[in-house]
């Protein structure tokens, strides 16, 4: 596992795009951890000017680098806080997705037959679930919290990982090292998790990167639609506030930064995933 991570980082680091993207991701992780400590203001605090008047929709200034919201809140501080839910939700969802998807894919691909048929039928059902509407319904029925969002997203998202992994396992199953392991009397469990799993990990890793990207965007979309955790300041919820207050078209400083932050983080994640994918899948490499 540690070796896989170190080769992953080395591979991605080898290209310029990969290097830049990896640095951006690491930067966002640091922001998620330390951002709230470094934020100059409480993100929910109302700010007043020297005359004691509420700073409604103030443009960017020395005191408030990204201006203030309709309620006089400091947007820069909100941005510093917003990285945490994005990466928390994205990260845990991606992890959950790969754990479920990897196991379903491995079992379906390795055992084949009826097991495969049943698991794939279940995967099909989840493929038919409309992603965002399903999450909204779950949130509406169970209440809005970060954990519900993570749960609802994971439950839907494992399906793509499972399919990718299964296809990979199908091609590995007939390989020599697998039959060699079988001859030595290794159990199915051992073959599956000691011989096959390490070989599908690179693919799983790429799939995880794409899940992470997708989960971050979805978390923001849910926040924007107003179904996010009301106690958490996220990049999506900043945009929801801007939209709901009908002030967004008057205050571009309110609307632009969260979108750009999401865009930079997600494209960095995509580029990291793709830099790695190009190495493990040589036909994508350009001459």
């Amino acid at each position: 596992m540690i070796r896989l991570c170190s080769t992953f980082i080395k591979t991605v680091w080898a290209t310029r795009a990969g290097r830049v993207s990896l640095l951006v991701v690491v930067g966002c992780v640091l922001l998620a951890v330390f951002g709230p400590l470094l934020a100059p203001y409480d993100p929910t605090m109302r700010n007043y000017d020297q005359a004691g008047k509420l700073l409604r929709l103030a443009g960017p200034s020395w005191d408030h680098w990204m201006g203030t919201t309709l309620l006089g809140r400091d947007i820069f501080s909100q941005m510093m806080w917003g990285a945490r839910p994005a990466l928390l939700v994205g990260g845990i969802t991606a992890l959950g997705t790969v754990v479920i998807g990897l196991n379903v894919g491995l079992i379906a691909g390795y055992f084949g037959g009826r097991t495969d048929a049943i698991l794939m039928r279940i995967t099909d059902i989840f493929l038919g679930l409309p992603f965002l509407p399903f999450i909204i319904v779950v949130l509406a029925m169970t209440g809005r919290s970060l954990w519900t969002i993570i749960f609802a997203m994971t439950i839907v998202m494992w399906r793509s990982t499972a399919r990718v992994i299964r296809a990979q396992v199908l091609s590995l199953r007939e390989m020599q090292f697998v039959s060699a392991a079988r001859i030595t009397g290794a159990s199915d469990f051992a073959i599956l998790y000691r011989e096959i799993a390490p070989n599908v990990m690179p693919v799983a890793l790429v799939s995880t990167a794409f899940s992470l990207a997708w989960a971050i965007i979805t978390e923001a979309s849910i926040g924007f639609l107003g179904f996010g955790d009301p106690t958490v300041v996220s990049w999506g919820s900043i945009l929801y506030d801007a939209y709901a207050s009908q002030a967004m078209y008057r205050a571009p400083w309110w609307v632009v930064p969260p979108g750009i932050a999401i865009m930079i983080l997600v494209s960095a994640v995509y580029f990291v995933g793709r830099a790695y994918e190009e190495v493990i899948n040589p036909r994508l490499r350009s001459v």
Binding site: F131, L132, V138, I217, L225, G259, M263, R283
Partner: protein, 323 residues
Amino acid sequence: MGRYLATRLSHVVITLFAMMTLTFFLFRLLPGDPTAMVISPALDPAAQEAMRVRFGLDRPLVEQYFVYLANLARFDFGYSFRTSGPVWDLIQGRLVNTLLLILPSMTAAYAIGAFLGAYIGWHRGSRTEAGVILVATILQSAPLFWLSMLAILFFSIKLDLFPTGHIVSPGSFPEQTWRMYLTWDFLHHLALPFMVNTLYQLCFPLLLMRSTMLSTVGEDFIELARMKGLTERQVLFRHAMPTSLLPLATTLPMILGWAVAGSVVIETIFSWPGLGLLMVEAVTQADYPLVQGAFLLIAVLTVTGTFVADMLYGMLDPRIVYR
């Protein structure tokens, strides 16, 4: 072929059935009063009790489940809390609006994405290729609602080219009629959400088409086509592109699902009266029968789309033999 079709159809039926069951329990077993699902809490207690008996909510859940299935088979999705009218009447008009926005823009996105992806894959290693990939990845990474906000900010507010939302000018058609769709006003309202959605959704087919092209251009049959004396354009459009389109076709169902899900976002921000917006509104107003109806319809749409795309793929690729 017939046998395959039957198998696939049976899968569709199983999936739909599972979807309905899931929805039933999702809406009833989750924390909260299950009867709140069908009976508006706004009614007085006596009326609520009467409703409970009328809808059979005092019966066991299993019995309710069969009643629910039987009702669905008759397109009976229950009654909206807000309007008290049948849910089906509310959602069928919205379905048309959603399809009118999503289908054209997805078609355009696939066509443009496939063309552009084929083009940059054909000219691999070029500056254009690197530029297009960068732009497409960044676009794909931006949230759709945010891109829509920027588009409204720029094209509607700043340049005043398009309306900021709605399907026709407010007040021009008090009732939804087919005549509404034949007006310039409708097209004028459609233009901006159509463009934003197209731009956003074309990134995926574009990037996929490009990577497929990279492996296709190295194939022997491409070289043979050149040797036959075909011009570069003919090689591209007759051989490289059609062959590379196949993997793209397999992703169609998945993308269709995304598109429908994306409609929730784009309809909300453009106040487009489709299924997605209806669902968001209904959730906000706790109008559960309406939420359930909209959700089920969206799910049926996704499953049907998957099936159609599957069949289409089978017809496109002669190597697939149905047994």
